[in-house]
């Protein structure tokens, strides 16, 4: 066996080990119930903003405090606290990917990804509505 083959084996084994350890750190997509069932564990909570509940954000009081209620597709809701300003399109987004942990009484969110209806197809219908609204003014 050549030296190069030994090194090759070592490196490939290393790469495989790295990938396996990566898969072990991988997290999960969760609903409110499953997120609550594993408090303190980092999850991706798929939900949307509950617009019937108040959204608390006052940059004068604390620019790093956003509190709102998220509700998942099963209808379960949870109070969410996020230590940053509102992300863009927060209120019109149809889906939120909330990354964080459930902490006793609320979901402590580290990052929010907003999924807007502006993704192409829906965008078209939304834009269509804009056209409609604009043209109805005549």
């Amino acid at each position: 066996m050549k030296k190069i083959h030994i090194i090759l084996l070592v490196l490939v084994a290393g790469a495989i080990a790295v990938l396996i350890s990566f898969l072990q750190t991988a997290t999960t997509y969760d609903t409110v119930d499953t997120a609550i069932s594993k408090p303190g564990k980092y999850v991706h909570l798929m939900a949307r903003l509950d617009k019937s509940q108040p959204v608390e954000y006052d940059a004068l009081k604390n620019p790093n405090y956003l509190e709102f209620t998220a509700v998942d597709t099963l209808g379960k809701s949870v109070r969410v606290i996020y230590h940053n300003p509102k992300p863009e399109n927060f209120e019109i987004s149809e889906r939120l990917v909330l990354k964080g942990k459930y902490m006793g009484d609320h979901f402590d969110c580290q990052s929010i990804q907003t999924k807007c209806p502006s993704k192409y197809k829906d965008d078209m219908s939304a834009a269509g509505k804009n056209i409609q609204a604009a043209s109805e003014q005549y």
Partner: protein
């Protein structure tokens, strides 16, 4: 029906050209294919001539298509969906170009025009390789042309036509006002166009000058990876495995420079225009384009090994092949919408996933078919490929589709292993080629690790899993790549000092000790005085960062020294060393700027300290600035001075003044934000930064007051009090300390006999700060005029409603309103030494181009001999 105001001619010409380019590229493919197969004689000359003509027609078509698209955008012909969707009347001319490549169709065209330009160069320069190489290029052009053709075959959509009309695109189907009699079942009104006043505009985040040049350069990089791939296929096809690599080398170097610069222009855009606070977020889209670059680096190094020692021919083929395959794979990742959950800036789904998959399929299975030697093998390959494709289409199981690609790759790699001659002799452990090969391998494996992690959404789909990214996604990449950086830094430094074939250790040490000592001293100085104390991930990781910094410095110093020690200062020969110096600087810049990045806007003091339920929370990274009130931020006092609006857009510029408390450094940054822009809600911020040679101060707006919510609806509450009494408000209390009457005031219109009463009110906020407020009440011959006083930071307005006759008390009006406050919330960073990174990239690219020129000259000399 005739619609009023439509311009149909450009679209008709465009559509014709789309079809022409499709047909021309097919003809070119066939002609060049025949020329390759015929090999020589009059027939070959004939086919080659036909191929060239067809290819030139194709080039003219693609260029004209882009020109027409620009014409449509520039003239705001909103009857075309592309113009309506990607541009607007207020869009600046320079961004009209960017609006062409905002859409998938335009970016495919950009890719295609890259191939056109490179193809023309190939026709002029590639001589005996023209036919096979141009077969591959023309065929790729054919496939790209299908991406924009926009027709349906057996109910499957083939491509997306950029010249589709708005009224035919389905957008208007749900707008009753645009239909006859307001009835959706009726056709669209003749004068519908009059109602469509403006387009949807270019995404505000793309309205940045980098977006004008980054995509063309990046797609030129994408396009250029095809050329080494085409040479490699030509080598497999004609069985001249080694010979074909000589002309391929300058192309591979060009590709490396173009792709590298293209990627880093994207990083510069991210740094200047996006708000994730840096030049890279390890986003899948960024990773997907970095991976082919890493593999190409590996391929170029093994190619050099082959040229000098005859080793590594197979690895070179494998790497050049995979570079292009991963370009296609990244195309699939970013355009299919599969990254939807994972990426912030992937393209939107056009419903062309099948076609994108097919692109990948064709480029794995067609080479497999082409390189098969016997007709028996060919039959087996074709049969397996077709059966697997049919299985993945009809069974619709992602795992089979995935396996199909892997099997295709397997077939090609198997054939390469079998056909390409290898060298039985082992490389010596003290030869340059040995360590270069190790380096290439590390690059390749790190690319595979990165792409595997990035492919998590694909893996989920294939195996039906639901895995999500780890908690600290960046760290998941960095903790591995830091070791790659250490190994690569070290190898880059040392390997040049080894000779090909064999090196005596005496000669090696004689030269390398000087740069080794110099780097050790430099690194010690930087680590001692540089304060690199990134302890977020523990001392082990910090140690790794220190080691990586040492290795990066070693790479820079050793390679710079080698230009004199090894190459006697000849710039012509030192392309490799120069690019290694640049690469070392890139490593150094990345390591230092990311480990020393500082958040300036830490919320530590001032008005924003909270109380109540969230008081035990950690300090946040955003700070609110009330207009005119300086706040402490690092060594600066920062003041929000004011704002101004863009004349034609809903875009605001905020003037933020920074003044150092230590020295007389002073400057104003003007970050801007699009507010509630074109159907978006909230703000889309563009940062601004102040550049110094050794650091940048970088800030962007993260929140603004909501004007709707902050309408001044509050009213003055009356509080009749005596001196010494206190009044409560929501955030504290205040005491009326004194009332003074004055006979003269520096007030316009104040006349003798008039009286003014000043109330001294001390305001005590719950956050333990206190303020003094002095509202005035002026009595001008019986007319009472109240001059309220505001306590900005407490959102308080105080006024005297009435003074008791005996002067011992007054009615104090208290109004709490957030509308009086103009404020912005922002985030600010200090990025140290980011310029090392940019400088490193420029030096790397220059070095690569010097090597490229050198290789072209060598090839020419050889050809003349």
């Amino acid at each position: 029906m005739n619609y009023i105001g439509e311009h149909l001619l450009p679209g008709q010409i465009g559509h014709f050209l789309l079809i022409l380019s499709l047909v021309a590229s097919l003809v070119a493919t066939f002609a060049y294919f025949k020329a390759t197969v015929v090999r020589q004689g009059v027939d070959m000359a004939y086919w080659k001539k036909l191929g060239r003509a067809a290819f030139i027609i194709e080039v003219v078509s693609v260029a004209s298509i882009i020109a027409i698209l620009y014409y449509i955008n520039a003239n705001h012909l909103f009857e075309y969906k592309y113009a309506w969707q990607h541009s607007s009347r207020s869009l600046e001319p320079k961004y009209l170009l960017a609006s062409i490549w905002e859409g998938q169709e335009g970016s495919f065209l950009l890719w295609s025009i890259g191939h056109c330009v490179l193809g023309l160069v190939l026709i002029r320069t590639s001589k005996q390789w023209e036919a096979p190489v141009m077969t591959v290029v023309s065929f790729t052009q054919f496939l790209l042309a299908t991406m924009v053709i926009g027709i349906y075959i057996f109910g499957e959509k083939l491509g997306s036509n950029p010249f589709i009309l708005l009224r035919e695109s389905g957008v208007l189907d749900n707008a009753p006002a645009l239909h006859i009699n307001f009835d959706l079942n009726e056709p669209i009104r003749e004068d519908y166009l009059a109602s469509i006043k403006d387009g949807n505009d270019l995404n505000p985040l793309l309205q940045n000058y980098w977006m004008v040049i980054h995509p063309p350069v990046l797609f030129l990089g994408f396009a250029s990876t095809l050329i080494p791939f085409a040479y490699m296929i030509a080598g497999l096809w004609t069985k001249k495995f080694g010979e074909v690599l000589r002309p391929a080398l300058p192309w591979a170097l060009f590709s490396l420079a173009a792709l590298g610069v293209g990627i880093m222009m994207g990083a510069a855009w991210a740094y200047e225009s996006l708000t994730f606070g840096g030049y890279s977020a390890r986003d899948p889209v960024e990773n997907a384009s970095l991976v082919p670059w890493l593999i190409l680096v590996a391929g170029i190094h093994t190619l050099l090994i082959y040229k000098h020692s005859g080793h590594s021919l197979r690895s070179t083929y494998l790497f050049l092949f995979l570079t292009f395959i991963f370009i296609l794979y990244s195309t699939f990742l970013t355009r299919s919408g599969i990254l939807g959950e994972a990426s912030v800036h992937a393209f939107t789904d056009l419903g062309m996933n099948g076609q994108l998959y097919l692109l990948l399929y064709i480029f794995t299975w067609l080479p497999a078919f082409l390189v098969a030697t016997t007709s028996n093998q060919r039959t087996i390959t074709a049969a397996t490929g077709i059966v697997m494709l049919a299985a993945s289409y009809f069974l619709d199981i992602p795992a089979i589709a995935f396996l199909t690609i892997l099997a295709g790759l397997g077939f090609v790699i198997f054939q390469m292993q079998k056909q390409i001659p290898g060298v039985a002799k082992e490389e010596s452990g003290n030869s340059r080629e040995f360590w270069m090969f190790i380096g290439s391998l590390v690059f390749f494996l790190s690319a595979i690790v990165i792409i595997s992690k990035t492919s998590l959404p694909v893996i989920n789909k294939v195996f039906g899993l639901e895995m999500a990214a780890p908690e600290d996604e960046e760290m998941a990449y960095n903790q591995i790549q830091i070791f790659v950086a250490i190994i690569i830094g070290l190898l880059t430094a040392v390997t040049q000092y080894l000779k090909y074939k064999n090196t005596t250790s005496k000669a090696f040490w004689k030269k390398i000790w000087i740069p080794t000592v110099v780097s050790a001293v430099l690194a010690t100085l930087i680590l001692v005085f540089g304060n690199v104390n990134y302890d977020k991930h523990g001392p082990g990781y910090l140690g790794a960062i220190w080691l990586a910094i040492l290795c990066a410095i070693y790479a820079v110093v050793a390679n710079a020294a080698y230009i004199w020690l090894g190459l006697k200062g000849s710039l012509k020969l030192s392309g490799g060393s120069i690019s290694h110096v640049g690469f070392g600087l890139v490593l150094l810049g990345v390591l230092i700027s990311s480990s020393k990045k500082e958040i300036l806007s830490l919320n530590t003091s001032g008005i924003a300290i909270d109380f109540g339920s969230e008081s035990n929370e950690k300090t946040g990274e955003n700070l609110t600035l009330v207009k005119g009130m300086p706040m402490k931020m690092g060594k600066y006092d920062v003041t929000y001075i004011g704002d101004s609006a863009h004349p034609r857009k809903q875009q605001w510029y905020y003037s933020i003044h920074f003044k150092s408390r230590i020295d007389d450094e002073e400057f104003t940054l003007r970050p801007n934000a699009f507010v509630n822009y074109k159907g978006n809600e909230g703000l889309m911020a563009n940062p601004d930064s102040r550049h110094y040679w050794d650091h940048d101060v970088f800030t962007y707006i993260s929140a603004l007051p909501n004007p709707e919510k902050n309408k001044d609806t509050a009213s003055f509450k009356s509080n009749p009090v005596k001196i010494g009494d206190s009044i409560y408000y929501s955030k504290g209390y205040m005491i009326l300390e004194r009332l003074a009457t004055r006979d003269s005031m520096p007030f316009k219109g104040f006349q003798p006999g008039d009286k003014a009463t000043v109330a001294g009110i001390k305001v005590y906020s719950f956050n333990k700060t206190s303020y003094t407020s002095e509202p005035l009440l002026i009595n001008q011959r019986g007319n009472l005029l109240a001059l309220p006083d505001t306590v900005m930071s407490e959102s308080l307005i105080l006024r005297i409603n009435k003074v008791d006759d005996d002067g011992t008390g007054a009615d104090i009006g208290v109004k709490e309103s957030s509308a009086i406050l103009e404020y912005v919330t922002l985030k600010a960073y200090k990025f140290p030494f980011i310029n090392i990174l940019w400088l490193g990239i420029i030096i790397t690219a220059v070095g690569i181009l010097i090597s490229m020129v050198r290789r072209i000259q060598l090839n020419r000399l050889k050809a003349e001999r």
